[in-house]
Symmetry: C2
Subunit: 265 residues, 2 copies
């Protein structure tokens, strides 16, 4: 993958990023709740203002009340303030967020009373991952409704799926659970970041039969990703970020197999 696009392509790609914006129908553009949903961004810079306990509770309540398959509630939320995060992981919450939630897929809890549930680990894991992710998004939206910003982490600071085994050990989690992500919460410092390059609607919709995206759209997206990283992430690039992923993903894959298919190993 190219790390550098050259000046012309970089400028064109950055211009495309800047033109990207939510595209709601004009008739609904003034729906306030839609605005909150559309304006949400992953925020990585927070003020030191603490999140009050009631606000954090209201966010967690959105997680508790998320929809889930057969109402199994196959999730656990490990909650942290900075002191507990430091005590657990020996460093601050990533990006100096004020609170954090490690979202865990949990097929262990309901098995306490549904012992004869058959061992079909990949299906059960998938269902738990779906449910835990629904809860994560519901918390994220509830936070936005309360003026609290957040970012969901998959890797930064060993906080997500690429370090699931490490997190599982740190939290003393039982078989049947897999930590998926950390959501870091806080009040945003400054304006929200620019929207990252999103694929156009017609490229992610399927109407009837699957059509592979045309290559030109995907190449344009890739160029925007490269240009955007180079412009906004000082000291890193999209390729560097992918390289970090690629260097960790092999071990993560082995560990995840061990965690998901726990009875076989």
């Amino acid at each position: 993958m190219k790390e550098n696009l050259g000046l012309v392509k970089t400028v064109k790609s950055l211009a495309k990023i800047l033109r990207g914006k939510p595209n709601p129908p004009a008739s609904l553009a003034d729906n306030e709740m839609l605005q909150v949903i559309y304006k949400r961004r992953s925020v990585r810079s927070f003020t030191s203002q603490p999140i009050p306990d009631d606000v954090f509770s209201a966010i967690l309540e959105a997680g508790r009340l998320a929809p889930c398959t057969v109402n199994l509630q196959s999730w656990t939320f490990a909650i942290f303030d900075d002191a507990l995060w430091q005590q657990t992981f020996d460093h601050s919450i990533p990006f100096h967020g004020n609170r954090a939630v490690i979202v865990i897929s949990d097929s262990a809890r309901y098995r306490q009373v549904l012992e004869d549930f058959p061992y079909c680990p990949l299906t059960e894991y998938t269902i738990a991952v779906v449910n835990a992710s629904l809860a994560a998004m519901n918390m994220n939206v509830a936070a936005e409704a309360l003026g609290v910003s957040s970012v969901m982490l998959s890797e930064t600071g060993r906080s997500g799926i690429l370090d699931a085994k490490y997190l599982k050990e740190k939290l003393n989690l039982p078989d049947g659970t897999v930590p998926l992500m950390t959501i870091v919460f806080g009040y945003a410092r400054g304006a929200y970041p620019i929207m990252p390059p999103k694929l156009p609607m017609e490229r992610i919709l399927l109407h009837g039969q699957y059509q592979p995206s045309d290559r030109a759209t995907m190449e344009s997206w890739l160029e925007q990703m490269i240009a955007g990283y180079n412009a906004s992430h000082l000291g890193t690039s999209f390729k560097t970020q992918l390289d970090i992923y690629q260097s960790k993903i092999g071990q993560a894959e082995d560990e995840l197999n061990e965690m998901v298919f726990y009875r076989k190993k």
Copy 2:
């Protein structure tokens, strides 16, 4: 598992269900957007009122703009009105919903331009399932914001993860994609259903180290599930529902393994 609790336990369990409600901090109880999030329910009865195109577009836009790992947008949304659903599946949209979206985890699209992404299927699948589920929840909340109700299906009408291979064939999906669920959208007929029995907050939170839920809480939950099904789902029971799951999950597990680890087979 018991199918029948006896009268006293049934009454007590139903009373517990009826006492269950969203529990936001009093200080935030009048936040309108939180109310929408907390009052959302899975709705399975819809009027014949059609969802206008602009409203459906606004819902899909929330999916397009959902957060996702490294902005990979590893999702595809197969969209349907009843005519297209009928044409594809030879029956109406489940519960006579007006529109439907099959939410598909899609690791195939970005690979068109990131060819050297290593083959770590379980990790990549997990990331795509997380992302697609975040998009699903964002669409669900956006729908509620617009007065549109919905239900996410995992099994009903061969529309979810337990029939992923069937859906993949029907939609001609490539390797690297897995259909996760169908979201059925429509305008709710009548009042929202009662909240299903949710575990208390302290049972799903982890503060420091994992503690298994006390068995009494889980048994109370199970009794509420049994009593609630018997009371509200005419002609079925929680055990029947679990039996349907159990009868399908073995084959689903084989098929899912085939789909997730597609290069090995």
